[in-house]
Symmetry: none
Subunit: 414 residues, 4 copies
Amino acid sequence: MNADVDADVDASLDGSLDAVLVGFADRLRQATRFNIGFPGATDIDHTDLLSWAGRLLNNVGDPDVDGLAANHSKLFERRVLRFVAELLRAPVGWWGYVTSGASEGTLHALYLARRRYPKAVCYYTTAAHPSVAKAVDILNVDTVLVRTTACGEMDYHDLATVVGQHRDRPAIVVATAGTTLTEAVDDLREVEAVLDELAVTRRWVHVDAALAGIPLALLSPDERPGLDFADGAHSLVISGHKFLGAPMPCGILVTATRPNPAPGLVPYSGSPDTTLLGSRNGHTPLLLAHTVDRLGWEGLHARAGQARAVAGHAVRRLSGIGWPAWRQHPHAFTVVIRTPPQVVRDKWVLAGDGRDSSHIVFMPGITLGQIDEFVADLHTALTPRPTDPRQSIVDGRGSGVVVPPQRVPARAVT
Amino acid sequence: MNADVDADVDASLDGSLDAVLVGFADRLRQATRFNIGFPGATDIDHTDLLSWAGRLLNNVGDPDVDGLAANHSKLFERRVLRFVAELLRAPVGWWGYVTSGASEGTLHALYLARRRYPKAVCYYTTAAHPSVAKAVDILNVDTVLVRTTACGEMDYHDLATVVGQHRDRPAIVVATAGTTLTEAVDDLREVEAVLDELAVTRRWVHVDAALAGIPLALLSPDERPGLDFADGAHSLVISGHKFLGAPMPCGILVTATRPNPAPGLVPYSGSPDTTLLGSRNGHTPLLLAHTVDRLGWEGLHARAGQARAVAGHAVRRLSGIGWPAWRQHPHAFTVVIRTPPQVVRDKWVLAGDGRDSSHIVFMPGITLGQIDEFVADLHTALTPRPTDPRQSIVDGRGSGVVVPPQRVPARAVT
Amino acid sequence: MNADVDADVDASLDGSLDAVLVGFADRLRQATRFNIGFPGATDIDHTDLLSWAGRLLNNVGDPDVDGLAANHSKLFERRVLRFVAELLRAPVGWWGYVTSGASEGTLHALYLARRRYPKAVCYYTTAAHPSVAKAVDILNVDTVLVRTTACGEMDYHDLATVVGQHRDRPAIVVATAGTTLTEAVDDLREVEAVLDELAVTRRWVHVDAALAGIPLALLSPDERPGLDFADGAHSLVISGHKFLGAPMPCGILVTATRPNPAPGLVPYSGSPDTTLLGSRNGHTPLLLAHTVDRLGWEGLHARAGQARAVAGHAVRRLSGIGWPAWRQHPHAFTVVIRTPPQVVRDKWVLAGDGRDSSHIVFMPGITLGQIDEFVADLHTALTPRPTDPRQSIVDGRGSGVVVPPQRVPARAVT
Amino acid sequence: MNADVDADVDASLDGSLDAVLVGFADRLRQATRFNIGFPGATDIDHTDLLSWAGRLLNNVGDPDVDGLAANHSKLFERRVLRFVAELLRAPVGWWGYVTSGASEGTLHALYLARRRYPKAVCYYTTAAHPSVAKAVDILNVDTVLVRTTACGEMDYHDLATVVGQHRDRPAIVVATAGTTLTEAVDDLREVEAVLDELAVTRRWVHVDAALAGIPLALLSPDERPGLDFADGAHSLVISGHKFLGAPMPCGILVTATRPNPAPGLVPYSGSPDTTLLGSRNGHTPLLLAHTVDRLGWEGLHARAGQARAVAGHAVRRLSGIGWPAWRQHPHAFTVVIRTPPQVVRDKWVLAGDGRDSSHIVFMPGITLGQIDEFVADLHTALTPRPTDPRQSIVDGRGSGVVVPPQRVPARAVT
């Protein structure tokens, strides 16, 4: 084992597997309730499909061509793709597949974009997911980063400035629908306006909608920023294990056109090699198809509404005890808060920017009870305890750094 | 749905999910027994772990650093990595992770190689898996293809020729341990000799050992071609859903050194971003750890021996009825046969080169009974049926093309 | 035949040719009267020349050198070239040839421009014909697109901005005299002013005058925007099958100078290889020479005036029934209208931007009777029909989308 | 008019068109009989279709999608494409269109090849048609010329040498099926063997089969060199006005796969913009469909056989009078002869290399009578005329240069 690993970890490496499994089970059971910083919905019951879990399902190649072997779930893959593509108003001739996660989807989308425009410059914001920076490095694409507003949304004036400096080259723009830290949404209609004004018609707009793509697409286009194919996207990726609650990481990539060159049938597998990787997990399409089929548009829409209500409740409760908390927009599941004291973070798993700002992502499955308990714990931690002179108020506040005023946006909502 | 899909498929797209699931179950049940052309072992029972299947396990980031969230299985990932790395004689300081499949492993290995040698030329054979060609295209690496022998093994003289034309540039060589069509193994000791002779010290040798890596590594180094780190590999990838029998596609990448530059902790997840993709399936490490732990070296070694015995039996039985069949080497699970008549292929799923050559991959789980039934079916198809004058012998032989003699290798074994 | 073709089409593929010819004749006869969206003049009678139609006429090589074989019509080609070159005020030493269409002319002109200035940047507007984008892609020329006004004319300020960013490189500017959608005309005098102001003397200005070149050139230079050689063009292409009414697609390219380097005589054909393609259609020069010879300047000028009068009549009639309709300038043959209801478009073939805007091109041959019938059909479609309760007004209006006000130009004329 | 043109020519430029037309008719009538050096078949009667000649037929965009306007002949285009694609054993998914000539087809094919392999090197022989050199110059593709044998066929050893020097780059190989001067045919099976031996799998083989594609494809593959899709072609172009006898230059391009990226429907025309140029002549598809439909495989096969018989007759007759004459192979229509004396060439239009070698192309339509008359004229010219002492034998023999022995190939046939 690598020398960087802790001694603790090394120790358990050598125990019997059975003993380690017991500890693993205990840890997971305890952790789920307090894991509120990462966006995996926990309200979907997959029990119906567990009978398949022990059998190899391998979706080799293109989802639209079954291939030689029978142990695949492409029929279910096509069902979930159709649901998502229609929701995202994809044009006739759209294509897509279920990926191992949003990162693979973004890498494949940018690979297709580079094949279409080999000399393009790629533009994305400083709030974009790290997978975007990794993808352009892998693909060797020239890149310009775009500034964001204080809340993490793309600064469209800055986009105009940098694209305006490279009008001799095609543009690949990566917009984010739901940034990791604040769930900010880059508005595709603004991106389109910038590119139109600069006459950059050689363009590919990819949307990393891992977090917020499905929930926003369930709203009327008038109620939400531009994010889908009708708003100007050429490709879009969502996560399958966030709002859709799949029990293993996965994603869905949809593109406006079928990848080219069409590679033809590969004799070995009998299906065209159009995806980024070869063998693909056949369980995740089954799980996703089951979820969208059972819930439908109405069920998903209702889940999103309930989760947002919990998020709104959280902001009000936290504000009630005087702790800074806000949401970027009324559709956000993410509540940004000042990083709580360490004692609270020892119990509750939050995520954050590593400095003064943390967040909770109110995916379906987080209850009002959980947020009430969290607020109570925070309140307790903030209250001076006269019986214990060793702990001062200041100690209890963790870093104690005040959130800079400029990071509390004017548009923040509850 | 895309217009290229068959009408049949479209029809079932609109059925109820429950009805479709029933048909799916029937299809899978019937297909398993006859699916002998693709290398997924079917003898591993994963029932013990099914209780985890419905729960999100997400191994974000580096396997050696747990990160903030608790719902991961990195402890198991480290156990299976250690087992595999030791088996492959990886040096101190090795690194690795469980991937979504061998394709991701190869792409990441070549990405690391390009980061180490940005001006390298990549060499691989015409028998290499298509994932290699895709990886070098994604990575924009200059490439030279190397000829193979008639049996699909790298032509080392040709390697010397082409590397000799580019001694001013570092070399990335991809060797295959178990090609898709014939299970040929490129011998790393020969590759090393070529590179040494040409004094190309700036080198990265990656081994795509998806199919044969583990079974060959279980043998003594004297009994098998060079393939592991002690034989000269800088990175090596194996499949988890082939010999190791995982029920969903996965792979294991091992590299001789930890990725450089070390990216440091990512605040959001609390684990360094060292892998190709972000969120990673946490179920496959658990399944793989369970398998290697339960079986151990002895159990895996015994399984491999038994499967090879079945393969040898198959060659003898097929030769017994006069049907051309051979194995590339005595450790091969793959039996290459002349493509059988269509009536046989309607029942048995084989893979092949799309022309006159097909193969069966005798992964653990294929029984003597299955091969006997296959041989009987083939024999029946070849026997003239006097009671049915409509069918002649010639009709029954499918393409009827004789395997060209030069494709029957001198080294072929039974 | 390719799988993408409709079943209907496939069916007729297998009928007897005679039967298919009969259906073809019927279709064409019926279609001509209603085909008002595409700019092919239909008033020229070519009967005199039909006796040549069955004989191979092949204008291999340069129009100025006859070559070895006699079966060419270069004498006629030179006659029509001279007429057009004089009309366009081409300088002494001009050159040209009859092409297979304006697209070939633009490709050849830009090829000559790139040979003159290998490091040039090419500038053209977003309203330019797709053949320009294709040509620069074929030629691998760096490109910057220039914004247009709402009416589709080049935004000269934007041209100044982008040329100003690349003053270190020669400029190839493509101006359009008659854009496809609105018949906007880029004014060469403005283009010249921009290039002069920026001191970009290394320039090549190509004019894609496919639609409007001849009719505008028949006017006094004071009455029309700058478009010809005296206004700054280095090359200019017109269509032969639009205003000039040739019965097969063709074009005329004129350049200010003879192609350089002069390739000398090619022994095989006996004529220099100065054109883009080799064998060239010898019928179209004959047809074009016949047309310009018979009509002369006066005849062509009169035809253009009559056609513009019909266009003006159409705008007044359409406005009379309240349907939005406008022309870009008083010399335009193109009337832009709000896209009519589907029932109207089922009968009349219009062209458009695929959204809310369509157009009619009033080439010579369209009669007042046709436009009156069209307006009557439109009026009927807009009138509620009380006797048929199944059809509401709203249904009858097709997309019903109102033309956005910003697309109605201030300069619009009737 | 340009100063390079002869004074004679200028004079006729100013005559009345009617007078010029009369002279033109006379010239054509007299010339046809003696125009035996250029390969246009003259035996096809197109009278049935002349009624269409005066009407605009414009096949805008892709042949498989009709588009908005009705005045096209795409149905006939699809018929002739299907006939040719089947004859050339094109794979499922083939695509093609009727071009303005073979030059356009080659340019488009190489454009598609460069899009597929942007870094490719293009290889073609010194006997290739000048359109190939022009295409690679237009496309800016790196190029290596390959030596030919004395007869004009590709030297495959030299191909191996030069491709072997660039194995790090994809290869575009242009093979010629019927070179201009000797009708030599580059054997695709040899080309494939070279590329296979060098492991150059990233390849695009284009066949310029302008002259001999159809006649050779009518033979059994065993009787002729490799030239079609089953022999390894990725694209292939034939002429429509040579063996197929169309009365205006045209060609047919077929590719193994549909062009990508699929550009989608263009609103303006309603058909994808997949061809090199935009508006395309709709008369030539009609003429070609009529020819292949009326003649069918049998008729075309018989015509080819008859024409070859005339060619064989010519070689025997010429040899009979001692004049050097040979054919490259028994399927050739081209008879290469020593360039005859000037007095013969004043009457008979030959083509040649501009030095000592000329040729006659025995396309269908040339009669035994014509060849007998030609041989008689040649014999007369070679016979000393004692009554005219001013003319010596040497004068009568034109250049008098003897064909170098190495240019008379061992394989020459009669």
